[in-house]
């Protein structure tokens, strides 16, 4: 896509973050529903979703539309407004209800796995986005400004330790925040390293690795340990740590057509191993789903751990 496209996307993301702490115009309570009736208790350790599981289906819907119709004269904003619903002073993007329910279910499942492992933690009064997308797009100045704001948000709430639930948030908080936020000393851990599941509910699946977990964060072996009871089908190239293919997600909002082709390549590879595929990242999930057209069934890791 052209520079104008990225420029407009940037404006939407920066503006939305400024107004609502979320990267797109979304219902403010979109990422809060899963907390209903859960023990939120005050704690310096928090379970933090960065809203990723709830935002991913919104991106999926928007990207589908962008891909179909391309950029109009009115640009990205008009295109997104066309898939959103009218709201005071603009529009709101809304994921399908079924996807919101699935996202709620996944995050609640992670909550349960952690509680069962005896981990003590609280919940934020409101989820905010980590800013990962800005960094990944290469919009480093905007990212740095936002990261300082987000770090302040955590600090004000006395957060000393963050438990993340997806690779993008883990990566940006663990590896990138310390480079851009002076004095950022919050400990950042992944739920994967804390849970003690008692098995796996499906068998003979292929694992689609998140590039960030496998090659940036050293979680490749841990993921295999957690999923071993389900006898995953491995292949030295297709599911190898160094060579496993990306889902195309990092460029889905800038080059949706290329992203989809990459996802298709990945689905074809995985389908050679199994029709059942376990993913660890909400972005991988929506990208592979968009390209799969029923060729593989996708499960999120937290959905299959017992």
């Amino acid at each position: 896509m052209s520079i104008e496209w990225i420029s407009q996307l940037r404006e939407i993301v920066v503006d939305s973050l400024e107004k609502s702490w979320l990267p797109f115009p979304l219902k403010e309570d979109l990422c809060e529903g899963w907390k209903k009736d859960l023990q939120a208790g005050p704690s310096s350790t928090i379970l933090y979703t960065s809203c990723m599981y709830h935002i991913a289906p919104v991106i999926e819907k928007a990207v589908e539309n962008l891909e179909k119709f391309g950029v109009t004269k009115g640009g990205v904003m008009t295109r997104l407004a066309a898939v959103g619903t009218k709201a005071l002073g603009g529009f709101l993007l809304r994921p399908d209800e079924a996807e919101v329910k699935r996202a709620d279910g996944i995050v609640r499942r992670i909550y349960e796995l952690l509680r069962r492992a005896g981990v003590e933690f609280g919940l934020l009064d409101r989820e905010i986005y980590s800013g990962a997308l800005l960094y990944e797009l290469g919009l480093v100045d905007d990212f740095a400004r936002y990261a300082r704001r987000a770090a302040e948000y955590f600090k004000k709430r006395g957060v000393r330790r963050i438990i993340t639930v997806d690779p993008h948030t883990q990566h940006v908080l663990e590896k990138i925040y310390p480079k851009y936020v002076e004095g950022f000393d919050i400990e950042v851990v992944s739920y994967l390293d804390l849970i003690k599941p008692g098995g796996v509910s499906i068998n003979g699946f292929a694992i689609h690795d998140s590039c960030l977990y496998a090659r940036f964060l050293g979680k490749y072996e841990r993921i295999r340990q957690l999923l071993a009871a389900g006898n995953p089908v491995e292949d030295p190239y297709i599911t190898g740590k160094d060579t496993a293919g990306c889902c195309g997600g990092p460029i889905e909002s800038t080059f949706p057509g290329v992203a989809k082709q990459i996802a298709k390549t990945r689905v074809r590879e995985l389908a050679k191993l199994s029709r059942k595929v376990v993913v660890q990242c909400p972005i991988c999930y929506v990208n592979l789903k968009r390209a799969s057209e029923g060729e593989v069934e996708l499960y999120h890791m937290a959905e299959v751990l017992l």
């Binding site: 990944e136 797009l137 090659r215 293919g245 990306c246 290329v258």
Partner: protein
């Protein structure tokens, strides 16, 4: 990394092409500017201008690091491309905004 550092890192490239073996965008698009070798050499030879094709090649990198481990010269390919993207956007987007 600064532009000079990016160029220095990219200059280590020996054109062997080992990095293309696992690159998802290269595997899918089958054109050199959609692969790590092409991207690294676009950065190495950057003189202030990028053609539309070169721009798309750079911007479609997934920063997935499948190339890094294959490179015998030890170039931090994914990081170089990510930081070069940031450099390009810095020039094209931010300069107009401030």
């Amino acid at each position: 990394m600064s532009l000079a550092e990016l160029r220095a890192e990219a200059s280590k490239c020996q054109f062997c092409g080992f990095c293309e073996y696992a690159c998802p965008t290269y595997k899918t698009m089958r054109m050199r500017h959609f692969g790590p070798r092409g991207r690294i050499n676009l950065i190495k030879n950057f003189d202030g201008e990028l053609s539309e094709a070169a721009y798309i090649g750079i911007m479609t990198c997934l920063v997935c690091r499948a190339c890094d481990v294959q490179c015998p010269a030890g170039i931090k390919i994914a990081e170089v491309i990510h930081d070069f993207k940031a450099y390009i956007l810095e020039g094209k987007i931010y300069k107009n905004k401030r």
